[in-house]
């Protein structure tokens, strides 16, 4: 049996030789990313095309939607290679409940900009934590998708900067931040999570949920401060 601190799994084939705890833990992460990437594309990016204020924004949103969908496809493909049933990786077919953020019905362009600004920042932190993952196919996928994730967050910053140029736009964006942000810290999972303990034991992830959430709150506050906005107070624990 592999020693948790030394394990490095270079291929999907090698995964089959790992302890069940390792295989299940990696599978949970792949399923989670496959589902969340598709939820994001379906619940936010596709509806946002109709809310975009200009052709530039509309087509950029189209592209972002395709990139998010592409991320789903990458995780889905890896999951299939690992032997994960397809229905476990598709929203609507899986029994796994969506994150609360995905139950929000997108109604304004400002809400979408907020999702990119702060929601994709949360996604970046999750992907950053996989950049040194001991399961190399997942590590490589994280490295592959990271540049696009960063671009999506930059999309939020760029359109946020446009909105705050007018007092009315700034007020609408602040309202959207106030509505959207409270559901985002829960994205990092429960404190003292058993799953997270196993992820760290095997070097699949690096940080505790609490550490990631604290880092997220700090970075989110910095991002909105640059736009002259503030974050609403939220409960710290998920």
């Amino acid at each position: 049996m592999s020693e948790p601190s030394k394990v490095q799994v270079k291929t999907v084939a090698e995964l089959a030789e790992q302890p069940e705890e390792y295989r299940i833990a990696v599978g949970k992460l792949v399923i989670s990313h496959a589902i969340n990437e598709l939820y994001g594309a379906q619940v936010f990016d596709e509806p946002a095309v109709a809310l975009a204020p200009t052709p530039y924004a509309k087509w950029l949103t189209c592209r972002v939607a395709m990139e998010e969908y592409g991320h789903h496809c990458h995780f889905f493909k890896l999951g299939r290679e690992m032997g994960i049933p397809e229905e476990k990786m598709i929203p609507g077919k899986t029994e796994k409940r969506p994150l609360s953020i995905f139950e929000h019905k997108l109604e304004t362009w400002e809400e979408f900009v907020t999702i990119k600004l702060l929601g994709d920042l949360a996604e970046i932190l999750q992907v950053e934590d996989l950049l040194h993952c001991t399961f190399h196919p997942l590590r490589n996928l994280a490295r592959q998708t990271m540049p696009e994730e960063r671009f999506h967050a930059q999309f939020g910053i760029d359109f946020g900067q446009e909105l705050v140029k007018t007092p009315e736009g700034k007020a609408r964006l602040q309202e959207a931040v106030n509505r959207i942000f409270p559901s985002l810290p829960a994205f990092f999972g429960a404190a003292k999570s058993r799953n997270n303990e196993i992820f760290r034991k095997w070097g699949i992830k690096l940080r505790t949920n609490e550490e990631m959430r604290a880092d997220y709150l700090k970075r989110a506050a910095e991002v909105v401060a640059k736009l002259g906005l503030t974050l609403p107070k939220v409960a710290q624990a998920a």
């Binding site: 109709a50 200009t54 052709p55 530039y56 509309k58 087509w59 950029l60 949103t61 189209c62 592209r63 972002v64 395709m66 592409g70 496809c73 671009f151 999309f155 760029d158």
Partner: protein, 188 residues
Amino acid sequence: MTGGVAAGSGAFDALADFARQQSELAWFAAVGEALTDGERAEGLDYAKALGFTDAAIGMVADWPAAERATRGAGYEAWWSAENAERTALLETATRMFGRHPVMTALTHVTEAVSTVVLGAASVAAARSGVADVALARVAAGAATEAAYHAGLARIAGAGAHHPFAVKFRLFAGGRWPLGITGGILHLF
């Protein structure tokens, strides 16, 4: 629905061929070049087919001008006209074959086009001395939408004169139609 799909297998085969062709097109290869008479005529046909019977063609000369045009205001009427066409075609196609098979086939088209257009737009912009990852993505998004629209028109049985078919021909010839505002079709 299964019977509908079986009856329309020729249409789905044709759409699969259309998806495969996406990597062979001259995406953005002619942007910035002088418009030919044929391209001007296609542009006017596209505008007329959408209901803009008095539209004129506005040549867009370079990538910065294309960005300014796409960031402008006043595109709502054009946008609504395209959306009305899209909605009507989707209803027709869904009635003929069922929503899931249609959307699955169109997803194959958008996947195919997405893999090639960002690179093509980036190269075309770079040739003009423009390195703008956001603008290249805007162009890629426009091309993907055009392929989706054209695929939808095909599966719904719309002919070669449908505005989405005409618009796609402009993209396939290396152009980028930027939209209609103020009675002008901005053509890059």
